[in-house]
Symmetry: C2
Subunit: 178 residues, 2 copies
DNA sequence: CCATCAAATGAGAGTAACTATCAAATTGAG
DNA sequence: CTCAATTTGATAGTTACTCTCATTTGATGG
């Protein structure tokens, strides 16, 4: 309920223009309760649980694919599983995260976490250790390329992120031919 | 003066334990003045002017190198130009940025800016447009790999970042062989 | 139906980063 | 020295977030 009301307020008045006070008035709870569920105002927008879906899709990929190919496939599958309304909601959230400085900043934690997670599953697949610098570099490069795809949406708000992401993965896959 | 005193306080008492009030007491200026020079407390630690040095080094690289090779060379040169005390200071700042959640979060803006800048100089070198997805992906991958090198320092605080960065670049350069 | 007890909620007071406004002081050019 | 521009300061907010402790809720066993 908190998230639903908050997101509605964010959409109508903007994120920064909406105070926590307004949210708790709307939901009719106390400030204490709000912060008990969301440690920060930003968490209302930032939190989601997509990681497990992508990890599962990655583990399902055939073993003869290269790591980048497997990731590419996993992303395609994970995005494909989303319902249209879920896609719209995710897109909403992403636009907001990109547009609001405070939220953008907080995204770094997500990216760092994604690198760690990616390191673990890549290491598992390749039979290496997660702290292997080759594993770290690949994780970093993949997440960096994904970030680049997200940022591209800033310049072209109508772009399809999943398509951009796939394109980025294809460039990674093919080596960098500039 | 503000930066010097602030950094000293941060080092001795910790970043979060140090309030802006303490800093302005130390430097004997008003709160207004502090925030006029540093829009946020974090900017005291985050701000630096290394980009131009790296860009210059990149532009100096021979034209027959691949983009990643040229970058690798540029990083090596730029780091090589630093005096020992400057290296120590940079290392200090980096440890602090990695350790303090608030500062870590703010780093994303720096990384995003680095991607944009890298996009511009890579595009210039390759005769492409900065919004070319191949350019964006390479910029993203390079910055992502650099992030991975930084994060590796969290696990091993004694590690040499410039060496890790070079290692990461060499992995990028050689394709990802996992 | 009631007593009990843990978990959830709320109230209230406080902190610290940041903003806005406007007056006072300082500086520097002529 | 003078005047104007720039820098600084004082003051009074706003808002996110924390802490502590009292109150309420709701599930469970008798």
């Amino acid at each position: 309920m908190i998230r639903a009301h908050a997101m509605r307020l964010f959409r109508t008045q903007g994120y920064e223009a909406t105070t926590v006070q307004q949210i708790i008035d709307e939901v009719e709870i106390s400030e204490s309760t709000f912060f008990r569920y969301f440690p920060t105002k930003g968490d209302v927008v930032l939190t989601d649980d997509f990681d497990p879906i992508i990890v599962a899709a990655f583990r399902r990929q055939p073993g003869d694919l290269s790591p980048v190919q497997a990731l590419r496939g996993a992303f395609l599958e994970a995005f494909g599983e989303l319902q249209p309304d879920e896609v719209a909601e995710q897109s909403d959230r992403m636009q907001m995260m990109l547009a609001v400085p405070e939220l953008r900043a907080a995204m770094l934690e997500q990216f760092a976490a994604a690198m760690r997670l990616l390191g673990v599953i890549l290491a598992e697949r390749a039979g290496r250790r997660p702290d292997d610098m080759a594993v770290r570099t690949l994780s970093g490069a993949v997440v960096g390329a994904a970030m680049a795809a997200m940022f591209a949406v800033i310049d072209d708000p109508h772009a399809d992120v999943s398509k951009l992401l796939d394109e980025a993965m294809s460039h990674l896959e093919g080596g960098f031919i500039l």
